[in-house]
């Protein structure tokens, strides 16, 4: 927990989103609503594995900066940001963002904004394994559109 009450973590090992979300909710009983986003490695595609690479001196500090911006923009009781790095398999959790607020609209907007900006700005490089071959993923135009929504 930072002084502002945000919990921002970069993990190299698997995590249990239900457990994390339950713990987050329990410490914010004064919040009327908690909105969460869980991103996981999609099963059923041809992707056999996914690797996220981070750069230690930049990645976590930038995640914490983003959390601060979210806290300033909306009235929240708490904010949780957990992001995996390393090799993951289909069904594995990649990212969990949760925003606890007295008012539902704040919680939705904060989680949505945090995800758009995590996806497009964060210092993560991604590669996917398909047919036994690893391939680096380039940026997607959709991310820039998502982020433009926030003005």
């Amino acid at each position: 927990m930072t002084p502002s009450g945000s919990d921002v973590r970069l993990l190299t090992d698997p995590f249990d989103p239900a457990h994390e979300l339950g713990a987050f909710t329990r410490v914010h009983p004064e919040a009327g609503g908690v909105v969460s986003f869980l991103g996981q490695v999609r099963a059923g595609d041809e992707v056999e594995a996914l690797e996220l690479q981070h750069y230690e001196p930049l990645t976590l500090p930038a995640m914490k900066d983003l959390a601060e911006r979210v806290r300033k923009r909306w009235e929240l009781e708490g904010l949780l940001v957990i992001h995996r790095s390393g090799v993951m398999e289909p069904g594995d959790p990649i990212v969990l963002v949760a925003a606890a607020a007295r008012h539902r609209r704040d919680a939705f907007a904060a989680a949505d904004y945090a995800m758009d900006h995590l996806k497009s700005e964060s210092w993560f490089w991604k590669r996917e394994k398909a047919d036994g071959e690893w391939r680096w993923i380039e940026p997607r135009a959709q991310d820039f559109e998502d982020i433009a929504r926030w003005g």
């Binding site: 190299t12 690479q53 981070h54 750069y55 230690e56 001196p57 930049l58 790095s85 390393g86 996806k119 497009s120 700005e121 964060s122 210092w123 993560f124 490089w125 991604k126 590669r127 680096w136 993923i137 380039e138 940026p139 997607r140 959709q142 991310d143």
Partner: protein, 95 residues
């Protein structure tokens, strides 16, 4: 995954060096995630000492640079010193 470079070089006493860190697809091009190269006064001089194909990929405008964890602005041309870590950051993958 990539630890901050030790500010005091742990190698031989006389081999002044900088550490290059290659992220994403640049790791494949460089044939490794990091490399120690002899100290040169500027980033340009360091790049001039590399294989030209790799140097050209590292000079792409979309590749950002960080020195000791501080992101460089386009016009920054820092004077390098022994033990500096230069990271080459291609566009992040998003999605």
């Amino acid at each position: 995954m990539h630890a901050r470079a030790e500010l005091v070089s742990s190698g031989e006493k006389n081999s002044l060096s900088v550490k290059l860190v290659f992220l994403g697809r640049l790791e494949d091009l460089a044939g490794g995630s990091s490399r120690k190269v002899p100290l040169a006064p500027s980033i340009d001089a360091v790049l001039d000492g590399l294989d030209p194909a790799l140097a050209s990929a590292l000079r792409e405008p979309r590749v950002k640079l960080a020195v000791n964890g501080i992101l460089l602005q386009d016009t920054d041309a820092p004077v390098l010193k022994d033990g500096d870590e230069i990271a080459f950051l291609p566009p992040v993958s998003g999605g």
